[in-house]
């Protein structure tokens, strides 16, 4: 620990702490603009200057590490004067006229800094630099005229999303933020995660949807969890008048630390499906509005005699619904042969099955941040579960290698150090081939008995269509890594072969991805509550043969066309859904229910974190809560739903430790 005195206040901080962070710890506020707690210190704006005893000139506290016995002052008259001068220079560079800026009036850190220094005017008038405003992006506007070149956006693009789209071109007063090689942002490699908008301290990057709607001080902040996928990112909803103004990544989130992907930040803002606002019942071949009582009575009357009958009811629930709802659903239809999910366990069943034998064998998402090599197999982290991809993409310039194995076209292939495109269905041969090369060359970190390595390698080459050279190279890179991680997804799990998962596990042990200290093996699962569903045993494939009724609790989820085709042949279809779809069009009864933001409940993310979403909005008048509908049906069908979800998920071994 090091001793430091700031404004006469003595505190102790660990080595490596910057003076700015030490001051924060001491409760002393130092004005700053380019600094951001989730980004690497940059020292660009110089507003955070402090006086250090024994040093001739003021120093930027954000990049100055504390040394023992340091004596620092942050509020001398000279510093105040300097800060005013620094701000004057910033204001003189570009168009910082406040009256027509979206962030003016509380949301602009530059303006707030000027108010803090009690600046009534600009001592130096602007130089009238004129930059082109880039409005080509679907979600945000880049206006270099408002930019102070703090490079927070550039750092967020690199350090949060790992995308490296933004950089600064030109020099001096002509410097400007550009995408790629100065192409319009909308035509660039931007993956639309919006991290740059979230960190911009001025009006240089503004959000199109929420612009000019209201200042943040007039919005309500609600912390919740994104239900877009199984990563389970923390989000901050900015809310007003029962609607979302903007979604931000929650800085408080242990999973994402502020970053979000396009789906999490913008999909809910662009929801274009039509909401169902009243119960509907098919009458003379047409769906007609009916009362809740009529709809529920009809459903209960139809289902009651079929409940528990052979070929009676098939019940299918979306894995996007909260754990409480999934548990109630399971209980409600417990006596029927088919109780499963829309995912049918594709992303999870084989993993849970292997866990029955192996116990929990998967690691936490954090291993991705510390990996020196990531082997992705059957995963497209550029398309789904993107935030998990960010966790290693951002480290690639520092040397983290990516090996991408996917029979399909993969978004991350361009980025990968090695990418293999094996023939579909040849994964087992490939994994065994990799094991064989490592064993044969004696590169393994732990012993693995393989009978005939040569024939395994030969078989791998034949079945996958990958050359022996490439296979060998891949195996060597993986085996020579210090902290490798194997990340697998639906490409593997949808084959429903726990043997595949087991061999991946063996490979992970062989290369030291999994040992007594690290669990560098992780599957991405599917939707927000995939893991909960499989723990509840809701992960079988369903096949309808003469079933008399199908009950689909879809919530606000989407359905595939093939799913609609499969279930719509049944003679009685009940759909509990928030939005109109091809499925609801086929239904005999449609029960309108709440969407993610209108209900609360628990979710277990892909690495076992139990999190809770918040009810942010009140639902439309005639729309009911997903869980409440199931409870009401249970009452009408004389079935008791008493299970506690926390108990229910303990019925099966989890592939990942829950916490």
């Amino acid at each position: 620990m090091l001793q430091i005195t700031i404004n006469g206040k003595q505190i102790e901080v660990p080595e490596g702490t910057t003076v700015l962070r030490a001051a924060e710890k001491a409760g002393i506020n130092i004005p700053r603009l380019c600094d951001h707690k989730e980004l690497t210190p940059y020292g660009g704006c110089r507003l955070c200057i402090v006086e250090v005893q024994g040093v001739r000139v003021p120093m930027a506290s954000c990049t100055l590490p504390v040394s023992n016995g340091m004596v620092v002052n942050t509020e001398t008259e000279a510093l105040k004067k300097s800060r005013k001068f620094i701000l004057s220079m910033l204001f003189s560079e570009r168009n910082h006229f406040c009256p027509f800026c979206q962030v003016s009036g509380g949301d602009c850190e530059l303006q707030n800094a000027a108010y803090h220094e009690e600046m009534t005017h600009w001592p130096i008038q602007p130089g009238w630099n004129n930059f082109v405003v880039d409005t080509s992006h679907p979600y945000f506007v880049l206006d270099n005229n408002r930019c102070i070149l703090c490079r927070r956006c550039v750092r967020a693009c690199a350090e949060m999303a790992g995308n490296f789209t933004l950089s600064v071109a030109e020099r001096g007063a002509k410097s400007l933020v550009v995408a790629d090689t100065d192409v319009p942002l909308g035509e660039s490699t931007c993956i639309k995660c919006g991290s740059c908008v979230q960190v911009c301290p001025t009006g240089a990057i503004i959000d199109k949807t929420s612009a000019y709607q209201m200042h943040d001080k007039d919005l309500t902040e609600v912390k919740s969890i994104c239900t877009g996928c199984s990563v389970g990112c923390s989000i901050k909803l900015m809310v007003r008048d029962n609607r979302i103004i903007r979604i931000e990544g929650g800085w408080h989130g242990s999973v994402n630390h502020g970053v979000l992907c396009e789906h999490g930040r913008y999909d809910p803002m662009n929801e274009s499906r039509k909401r169902i606002t009243t119960p509907l019942m098919k009458k003379d071949g047409k769906l007609e509005p009916v009362s809740w009582n009529e709809a529920l009575k009809a459903v209960a009357d139809q289902l009651r005699p079929l409940s528990g009958q052979k070929d009676g009811i098939a019940a299918i629930v979306s894995t996007k619904l909260p754990a409480e709802t999934l548990t109630a659903f399971k209980d409600l239809f417990a006596h029927n042969e088919i109780v499963t999910t829309t995912e049918e366990g594709m992303p999870t069943a084989s993993v849970t099955k292997f866990a029955e034998k192996q116990g929990s064998f998967e690691g936490k998402l954090d291993v991705l941040s510390n990996a020196d090599t990531v082997l992705c197999i059957g995963v497209d982290a550029g398309r789904t579960h993107m935030v998990a991809g960010f966790m290693f993409k951002r480290n690639m310039p520092k040397g983290t290698r990516l090996i991408n194995i996917d029979p399909e076209e993969n978004e991350l292939n361009d980025l990968a150090n090695l990418y293999l495109k094996p023939k579909a269905g040849s994964d087992l041969a490939l994994i065994l081939g990799l094991q064989a090369v490592i064993v044969k060359e004696g590169l393994g970190r732990s012993p693995l008995a393989l009978p005939d390595t040569d024939s395994l390698i030969q078989k791998a080459v034949e079945e996958t269509g990958i050359s022996r050279d490439q296979l060998t190279q891949t195996a060597r890179v993986l085996a020579n890594s210090i902290t490798p991680v194997i990340l697998f997804g639906k490409g593997i799990t949808a084959q429903r072969d726990e043997n595949l998962v087991e061999e991946l596990y063996n490979l992970a042990v062989l290369v030291g991805a999994v040992d007594s200290e690290r669990l560098g093996l992780l599957s991405l699962k599917g939707e927000a509550n995939s893991l909960t569903a499989t723990l509840l045993g809701l992960d079988q494939i369903f096949e309808l043969n003469g079933h008399k009724a199908v009950f689909v609790a879809l919530g606000d989820d989407y359905v595939s066309r093939s799913f609609v085709e499969r279930v719509s042949k049944v003679s009685y279809l009940v759909v509990q859904a928030s939005y109109e779809s091809k499925l609801t069009a086929q239904a005999d009864v449609v029960l309108p229910v709440t969407v993610w933001s209108e209900q609360e409940g628990h979710y277990i993310n892909l690495d076992g974190r139990v999190q809770k979403t918040q009810k942010v909005f009140s639902a439309p008048e005639n729309v009911r809560d997903n869980l409440a509908v199931l409870n009401e049906l249970a009452t009408r069908m004389n079935i008791s739903l008493e299970s506690n979800w926390k108990q229910a998920i303990l019925a099966r071994k989890s592939s990942v430790a829950l916490n």
């Binding site: 168009n95 006229f97 406040c98 009256p99 027509f100 800026c101 003016s104 009036g105 303006q111 000027a114 108010y115 009690e118 009534t120 005017h121 600009w122 008038q125 602007p126 009238w128 004129n130």
Partner: protein
């Protein structure tokens, strides 16, 4: 003792700051109690007394040769000069034309704008003032108090006038300080 004299004028602004001044409602009677309101653009007397005033207020920036004249006259005749509002303090909305230049702005307004009659031209009557770069007042004459805001709140204007009328120095900060 004689009451301090206050005069005001507007140059390149939108009159919004004077509207905000009127927004102080009945408190304007307090100002009249404290000070002698002389020339303003919204009263009969249009020019500050030749003998001088104690406080001169200018709304709007300096945009042409006529504005310059007004600014210099007000400065010369005022003991204390107040720049009122964002245009006077920073240049404001009119200063946006500095980004494209006077020529392009005039062309856009008088020739290209959709509302113009075909064949319209930029007025060139020799009696018209000469256009210049749009500037804040303090770029043209020394200013004693900058009161930003678009417009400054009536509360702010009342505070500033009341302080000045009673011989005190107003402090433009906290709730009195905003730039929009």
């Amino acid at each position: 003792m004689n009451k301090p004299k206050i005069a005001s004028d507007w140059i390149c602004g939108c009159a919004g700051c004077h509207m905000s001044l009127l927004d102080m409602d009945e408190r304007i009677l307090k100002i009249v109690e404290l000070a002698d309101l002389r020339a303003t653009p919204i009263t009969d007397l249009k020019e500050p007394d030749e003998s001088g005033v104690d406080v001169g207020i200018l709304e709007g920036g300096v945009n042409n040769s006529a504005n310059e004249e007004v600014a210099h006259k007000m400065r010369k005749r005022s003991k204390i000069l107040v720049a009122l509002g964002d245009c006077a303090v920073f240049g404001g909305v009119p200063a946006m034309r500095n980004l494209c230049g006077v020529e392009a702005a005039l062309k856009r307004a008088y020739v290209e704008a959709e509302s113009n009659e075909p064949g319209s031209q930029i007025p060139d009557d020799p009696e018209l003032a000469t256009m210049t770069q749009a500037r804040a007042i303090h770029e043209v004459v020394p200013v004693d108090y900058n009161v930003p805001g678009c417009p400054p709140d009536a509360d702010t204007i009342f505070y500033v006038l009341a302080e000045l009328a009673q011989g005190r120095k107003p402090e433009i900060k906290d709730e009195y300080l905003h730039w929009h």
